[in-house]
């Protein structure tokens, strides 16, 4: 595969979703159906990235793991505080601790 074709292609499509709406939306109205669907895009995409990484960390379904426990705690902290620093600290801290315990045992 041509890796430069890949980099250029990825750069173009990424810029194409970021820049035009920043410039145009204040001036041009998007169809209501599009705006409505767009509202669900961040939650849908980010969730679809997170959940398999949490529940299938090694490729097999593992509902109880350092990944899952740390994510639940991070989720609770995120809901309560709505702040990223405590969420990341609590989630990563607990995750690294549980992994250490799991590997040490």
């Amino acid at each position: 595969m041509n890796e430069w074709l890949l980099v250029v292609g990825m750069a173009i499509v990424t810029f194409a979703v970021r820049y035009p709406p920043l410039v145009l939306v204040g001036r041009v109205a998007l169809p209501r159906a599009v705006l409505r669907a767009l509202r669900y895009v961040p939650v849908a995409v980010l969730t679809a990235i997170i959940v398999p990484a949490v529940l299938l960390p090694e490729g097999a379904f593992t509902p109880i793991s350092p990944h899952a426990l740390a994510s639940v705690v991070a989720g609770i902290v995120a809901w309560r505080t709505r702040q990223l620093l405590p969420t990341i600290t609590a989630g990563m801290g607990l995750f690294l601790l549980l992994r250490m315990l799991a590997n040490g045992a």
Partner: protein
């Protein structure tokens, strides 16, 4: 140094471009904590998966979209063609359209000199930070300097951590074993959970979760696209379901 005067709670406050810029940098620091390990993992994955060090760094420099770079590095490693990876990038990054659209009203007075870099550098992290600053009640005319500070802090951090990952890459054969890639998951949890403010959004997240797990075995991360599509459809549909119980209750009454 240029200063602006504005009122906040009846007091006259002065704020400079520099002060806004550094506030933007400062408010972005917690997110940098989450993206440094993520950038290192991307750099290592890129060179271990078959990209040249220069192409790996170029992806960070010119694409600058962490989650799609991560997915792309994985797809390169499994030998998928460029066309499919570019299509996946487009879908994974579609959410930036929403970010850009919602910031658009705040940046209408700015020229291209501002809009081009601010558009290019829009990420989940910078959006999460500036979407809080712009609507704040004070009428500071330099909020775009805050935005620039946030974007530049995140951009430089991303390049630096990519370089670290490339340098470590050949040594770190199984970097996933370190668990560093989990930092991305925790950061995204911190971004998504506060967004779940209505029932349709919760339905969207639940459906995307279930479908993502069920389709995780599909080749080429196709499951990601299927799950995202299902989540969006479920969210839109849930807006309609909400009205129905009310009608049913009315009929009963």
């Amino acid at each position: 140094m240029q200063l602006a005067f504005f009122t906040q709670g009846g007091k006259v406050v002065t704020i400079s471009k520099q002060a806004e810029f550094w506030r933007g940098v400062k408010d972005t620091l917690p997110l940098i904590l989450g993206t440094v390990p993520f950038g290192i993992v991307f750099g290592a994955l890129g060179v271990n998966g078959g990209l040249s060090p220069l192409a790996t760094l170029s992806m960070s420099l010119f694409v600058y979209a962490g989650s799609s770079q991560f997915v792309a590095a994985g797809l390169v490693a499994s030998g998928v063609g460029a066309g499919f990876i570019i299509l996946t990038t487009l879908v994974v990054n579609l959410r930036h359209m929403l970010y850009a659209a919602s910031l658009s009203p705040y940046v209408q007075s700015l020229g291209q000199r501002w809009l081009l870099p601010l558009g290019f550098s829009l990420t989940d992290e910078t959006f999460a930070v500036v979407a809080r600053r712009y609507p704040e009640a004070d009428d500071s005319p330099y909020k775009h300097w805050y935005h620039l500070g946030s974007a530049l802090a995140m951009y430089s951090n991303w390049q630096l951590s990519t370089v670290l990952g490339i340098a470590a890459g050949t040594q770190l054969q199984s970097i996933a074993a370190w668990g560093l890639d989990f930092a991305m998951v925790v950061t995204f949890v911190g971004i998504v959970v506060p967004l779940l403010v209505s029932r349709p959004l919760v339905v969207c997240a639940l459906v995307a979760s279930v479908v993502a797990v069920l389709t995780a075995g599909m080749p080429n991360k196709l499951g990601l696209l299927v799950a995202a599509g299902a989540g969006i459809a479920a969210g839109v549909a849930a807006e309609h379901w909400r009205a129905e119980p009310t009608l049913a209750q009315e009929a009963q009454a």
